[in-house]
């Protein structure tokens, strides 16, 4: 991979992390560390030089790191993020949405080699898109011709069949909000679902409230989804929720042309902006 071995990348990560902390301008470096299970790593905030040596890089580094930049919205120091392609897109997402300031970030980009994670198969951006320092040689990106294959197949079902499928899925949902909390596009200061007594969204894990939550979430993030797959990965009940945002992205692509989020020169989210030449045959 990209000229460096896994172990070399790990060394470089630790080295860059230490350098970042040594500047005195960075409070912590967010990456991954090991757990008691060989095939699991967890997000980790290295705050001292010695803790930087606990950072790891292997195929099990699957958790998104970008969202942790939001933990402190008014930081006194920068936060350093070890960013794979998807993490850099997550950061671009939050920058575009004006939830983060670039000057509060120090981005240690790492060219990704693909992880033990279903979403990585279709990844089109293994090279970090935004960074302050880059580890590894950029690789040639694969263009995933099948980006919407699953959606095309699902669209062929009748509305009743699709409803039945989603009803069963949402009956399983335990309303834990892991999908929201892991998602870099879910970056509102206060989520509508946490607002006190909206009267139409509560915490009850029943069919109605689960579905209302599912639909609302999909609409809120559908035109800003960076396709990192975190929502689906974290769901303890295995709901295939990426299907919803992918469906939105597919429709946007069909109606408005090529559209992908989290790129450095990201345009305004398509549903959050208006152009005279926007398609309007439904009006």
């Amino acid at each position: 991979m990209a000229g460096l071995t896994e172990a070399q990348v790990q060394d470089r990560i630790r080295e860059e992390a230490k350098k970042a902390l040594a500047t005195g301008e960075v409070s912590a470096v967010v990456g991954w560390t090991s757990t008691r299970f060989e095939d699991k790593t967890k997000p980790y905030f290295a705050e001292t030089e010695a803790e930087c040596d606990l950072l790891v890089w292997n195929k099990y580094c699957i958790n998104g790191t970008g969202k942790f930049a939001l933990d402190d919205r008014y930081p006194e120091k920068k936060i350093a993020i070890i960013a794979r392609g998807c993490d850099s897109r997550a950061l671009n997402r939050m920058l575009r949405d004006k939830q983060l300031k670039r000057e509060n970030l120090y981005i240690i980009g790492v060219v990704c080699d693909g992880k033990e994670n279903a979403v990585c198969e279709g990844c089109q951006h293994k090279n970090p898109l935004t960074y302050d320092v880059l580890i590894g040689e950029p690789v040639e990106e694969q263009i995933d011709a099948d980006r919407f294959k699953e959606i095309e197949a699902f669209e062929k079902l009748s509305p009743d069949e699709r409803y039945e499928y989603w009803a069963k899925q949402y009956d399983k949902c335990i309303h834990c909000y892991a999908c929201r909390n892991a998602c870099p596009a879910c970056n509102c200061v206060e989520c509508y679902a946490d607002q006190y007594r909206t009267g139409w969204q509560g915490k009850a894990a029943d069919r109605e409230q689960n579905q209302v939550y599912g639909l609302t979430r999909a609409y809120h993030v559908g035109d800003r989804c960076i396709e990192c797959g975190e929502c689906e990965r974290v769901c303890p009940m295995n709901l295939p929720i990426m299907r919803q945002t992918k469906k939105m992205l597919k429709d946007i692509n069909d109606l408005f042309g090529d559209y992908e989020c989290g790129l450095p020169d990201d345009a305004m989210p398509i549903l959050g902006s208006y152009k005279l030449e926007d398609p309007d045959e439904f009006m």
């Binding site: 912590a28 560390t33 757990t35 008691r36 299970f37 699991k40 790593t41 967890k42 997000p43 980790y44 905030f45 705050e47 001292t48 010695a50 803790e51 040596d53 606990l54 958790n63 969202k67 942790f68 933990d71 699953e150 197949a153 699902f154 062929k156 079902l157 069949e161 499928y165 069963k168 899925q169 399983k172 335990i174 309303h175 834990c176 909000y177 892991a178 929201r180 909390n181 892991a182 946490d194 006190y196 007594r197 009267g199 509560g202 915490k203 009850a204 894990a205 029943d206 990965r233 974290v234 303890p236 009940m237 295995n238």
Partner: protein, 358 residues
């Protein structure tokens, strides 16, 4: 009594005549789209003829607690305006059998009993459901790598508070079970299926957890003095504040109360809540005494390992490992227990890389 594995479905068939029998099985959700897969989730479901009973293997993702403490419990309906009225909703009087629950989950029911039925307050909804439930516990045969109940003082082979205890019969290679009644309810249950009795036998009870952890036997007391300890800052950073750990936990019993309104009518319900949510401690004016994940995760660990001991004399973590297996951030309460066991309670700083600091 001895029950042959091939008679398991017959037994549940007989028991189903007088009760709803909940047993662990796989729910299939078929995806009819091209190349779609059938998804299977292990969960407790009401017995239906021919249902596959998934007794061994990993435990269910969702604990069986919702049979006693449903995720959503409607409490009363009301009308407002000139025709105002209130109508209480009482859980139906249905007999239920909880079949094949694990010793950790049985022990979690003991904890919930303490919460909902003791200390001078009886929760009528819980009480109604509880009195109608008969429990048949099953001794674990293949603990998962995340199971650490025996380190928490629970025997994966035996659930002393169950109505019936069921184990694999020694030497049967899993083809027969030994069932023993521990209570009158249990005796009644075995009486119903005695036509299937294959005689005497000995129960196999030699299962040990894969995950053995080093826990201070007095950790509850130690933690009580560690509320301001720097360990909390460090170990909570990776948490994303979802409700997964609390909702998959068999002993989490918190609920919120809300209403559902349709014009001039509505219904008051309670539903599971989680101390990992930001609004759990938010007050009406917006102030929040647990403003970040540090305070929230500290509360969860403290409640599981210290506060509950103080009030009820037992730990609230039964070591089922569900939160360990399902946390999106791969945080691990068993790892915390070991770290807290090793920590100096009076330390002023905490690092994961000790001995290397300048």
């Amino acid at each position: 009594m001895k029950l042959a594995k091939k008679d398991l479905n017959k037994a549940l068939e007989i028991l189903s005549a007088g009760a709803i029998v909940f047993a662990p099985t796989f729910e299939m959700i078929e995806d009819k789209s091209e190349g779609g897969q059938t998804m299977a989730e292990k969960k407790f479901m009401p017995y239906k003829e021919g249902m596959f009973i998934a007794l061994d293997g990993p435990n269910t993702v969702k604990p069986p607690k919702d049979i006693l403490f449903p995720n959503v419990e409607k409490m009363y309906r009301y009308k407002t305006g000139v025709n105002a009225e209130i109508q209480e909703i009482i859980p139906e009087d249905t007999k239920k059998i909880l079949f094949g629950i694990r010793p950790c989950d049985m022990r979690s029911i003991d904890s919930m009993d303490k919460v909902f039925l003791t200390k001078e307050y009886v929760d009528s909804y819980y009480a109604k459901r509880r009195e109608n439930v008969v429990t048949v516990a099953f001794g674990c045969t293949e603990p998962e790598r995340t199971c650490f109940c025996d380190s928490m003082g629970i025997d994966p082979n035996n659930a002393p508070s169950a109505d019936v205890m069921m184990n694999v019969a020694k030497g049967s290679n899993g083809d027969a079970f030994i069932l023993e009644a521990y209570t009158d309810k249990g005796k009644e249950l075995l009486e119903q299926i005695k036509s299937l009795d294959g005689g005497a036998g000995e129960a196999q009870r030699d299962t040990k957890c894969q995950l053995q952890i080093n826990k201070d036997p007095e950790l509850d007391k130690k933690l009580a003095g560690m509320f301001e300890h720097p360990i909390w800052d460090k170990i909570t950073k990776g948490c994303i504040g979802c409700g997964t750990c609390t909702f998959v936990c068999p002993t989490c019993y918190c609920f919120d109360i809300d209403n559902e309104n349709y014009g001039a009518e509505g219904c008051k319900y309670r539903c599971w809540d989680s101390c990992m949510f930001s609004d759990y401690t938010r007050m009406a004016g917006g102030a929040n005494p647990r403003p970040t994940k540090k305070e929230r995760l500290r509360n969860r660990y403290m409640h599981k390992l210290s506060y509950f001991n103080e009030r009820y004399g037992e730990t609230l973590c039964v070591g089922c490992g569900r939160c360990v297996a399902n946390c999106p951030s791969h945080l691990d309460i068993s790892e915390f227990i070991e770290k807290a066991t090793a920590a100096d309670p009076n330390a002023e700083t905490y690092t994961d890389a000790p001995g290397k600091e300048a």
